[in-house]
Symmetry: C2
Subunit: 388 residues, 2 copies
């Protein structure tokens, strides 16, 4: 069992439904197979092209894509040229984001997708494409096409770990899990060591299940709202972020309530804990805001404050920085004086790797939580020196 | 002449009006005097209480205060209990922000102001109060009142440098200048090594002139919009930010066009260059946005991106990070592909201490510029370790 799998129920923050059994995370949900190879995009020779496919064409799917206005070519291809509700397969490369690469980049992403469709003998519009890596570098598309063919020739029901490894960039560890509950199986693989790390960019998450998920789009949206949309490393939105859910329905049962969100939240927390240079994870919970939206705005400003993130790193229970950030988020509104009595920040100063912080406003019933990593000298080093 | 004064026309970015003569920055504009003492707020015994007063009661003034909803006690006192258009004097302490200090903090700020009014024999409502330093620590008000009395007893027309030194917190150098143009004199003193550095917080700027400025409020607002509102160190809004303009009109002439903004911009650039841990200053200019507001939003997201700030530090001409941040700022809008042809980022990689970056959109005529500091390991060290 991988280190990631072992942490699945470590955090007290994860509210997984009862009766969830974790199994070998390399094992994909029934009906799915994956393969990965190295095609030479990564200088170190690590695997960098991967294909994951569903055996059946009776698949419900949903695809969430970054809203970044400078979206990468593969995101544009998925947006314009995929049947987002009937995705049979996904093809991914790591090492080249194929972002800011113009019309040629778009053609290259299409070619990569079409290569996968040919090898798998499925409709091109049933194949999603994702890429992650350096921005602004032309894709060596012939090399990638050869890699796609080789990866498609090695599909394996135990290919989850190989797939998760092949989509890594600056990640320190692969991020994946497979769980069973209520007669269904869910497997998922993610990558990301930041909301964005140009030029080694992006958060990707690919989820498979044999549950029946007729409303896949709304189901995925809700689960992401409670997981990947609750985290921040550096507040940066990627050009390439992609989340894909595929459900065969072969188990003849629905997803248990909360299972998908619990799986995605665990992977999201793995992304935060593996944030560039990160040594600690914080959780800020804001309650008593005027609305849920206001609570989220306040929580995000706190979670993205470099001063709060530095205090998390320095184990400094510096409640004044929470108050200052909250006041900034609520600029222009009339607030009663915010003093130490409305903030719980002691855990900032604890020895634990996780710190829970709370802010209680008295404006209404709005509440929100955000998980975030600390700001470290290592983050600065990674992002100012990695090219040299 | 101080190092600060010597840099007044160094930057090619400062568009000072012609015919401006810089004089000894310790010299205040005619009709103003200042004094400073150490009252013991700073552990090292540096000066920490200062008073600056206008000899005449025929003064026009304007006062801009932070919009932070957790505004400090002195900001609330200025907001509620000052004749903001007729400020005769200002009293400042450095070392204690008197923020998040509750009702007692408000009473202490009033007491500090009243002490200055007594010593100067002016109406309490004609005295502004500003404080900067640690958040959430009760003000030792008796000590400060004694300091106010001692400072008020040493008012001197050459007190500008002493005043600028007494309002410093984490600043590496005092920030001040005095200029003559068009028959008037403007002197100004500022402090700040970040938009906010809790617990050593705040940007303060105090400006004196013998020009006639009948519309002081609008004049100050316009000049600040072109200077202090064009900078960012860490994107954080302080609980204590205050800008004060006092104009006696004794010279019988108006302010030359652009003079006040040039003075404030120079001090603003000094604040950025002295940002916590900063080693370089960047300027991002966005043109071709749909509106000026959109241009400013895009410029701010770029200037506050930790990835762009780290690239500025690492001398990495990483144009992909400019594109990614712009795409994030414009999330949800339809953009043509942003490629290297719309970005000038070469100076990120130069040896110079200043780097000019440009982004050309093709959406309209909106333009904006923001100056920003780099993100360094030293910033992280200062903000995660200074309490230990």
């Amino acid at each position: 069992m991988s280190a990631v799998a072992a942490t699945f129920f470590r955090s007290r923050w994860v509210n997984a439904p009862e009766g969830v059994e974790e199994i070998d995370p390399a094992q994909l949900a029934p009906g799915f197979r994956a393969g990965a190879v190295a095609c030479g995009l990564k200088a170190g020779g690590e695997t960098d092209v991967a294909v994951l496919a569903c055996d059946s064409d009776a698949v419900d799917s949903a695809l969430l894509l970054t809203r970044n206005a400078a979206a990468a070519a593969p995101v544009r291809v998925c947006r314009d040229e995929c049947d987002r509700g009937a995705i049979r397969a996904v093809v991914v490369n790591s090492g080249n984001a194929n972002a800011a690469t113009g019309e040629q980049g778009y053609r290259d992403a299409l070619a990569m997708r079409d290569a996968a469709a040919r090898e798998l003998d499925v409709e091109p519009r049933a194949v999603a494409v994702a890429e992650t890596g350096t921005i602004g570098v032309p894709l060596p598309v012939g090399q990638v096409e050869a890699g796609v063919a080789a990866a498609a020739a090695r599909l394996d029901a135990s290919g989850g770990l190989g797939f998760a490894e092949a989509i890594m960039t600056t990640d320190a560890a692969p991020k994946l899990c497979t769980v069973r509950a209520g007669g269904v199986t869910v497997s998922a693989q993610a990558k990301g060591a930041g909301m964005i790390e140009p030029d080694l960019a992006t958060m990707l998450c690919i989820v498979q299940t044999d549950a029946a998920v007729p409303d896949a789009s709304q189901t995925l949206r809700d689960a992401v709202a409670g997981s990947f949309e609750r985290i921040t490393v550096d507040g940066q939105m990627s050009t390439n972020d992609t989340v894909l859910l595929q459900a065969t329905g072969a188990a003849g049962r629905p997803l248990p309530d909360g299972l998908l969100e619990a799986v995605l939240l665990q992977l999201a927390l793995d992304v935060v804990a593996d944030g560039e240079g990160a040594t600690r994870v914080g959780r800020i919970e804001v309650t008593g805001a005027a609305t849920a939206e206001e609570a989220e705005r306040v929580a995000r400003v706190i979670a993205n404050s470099p001063l709060v993130k530095a205090a998390l790193h320095g184990r400094d229970p510096n409640w004044g920085r929470i108050v200052q950030a909250a006041g900034m988020a609520l600029a222009g509104t009339q607030l009663p004086e915010l003093g130490p009595e409305v903030v719980e920040a002691d855990e900032l100063g604890s020895d634990a790797p996780e710190a829970q912080i709370a802010l209680r406003l008295e404006r209404g019933d709005g509440a929100a939580q955000i998980y975030f990593s600390d700001l470290t000298a290592e983050y600065v080093r990674i992002n100012s020196e990695y090219r040299t």
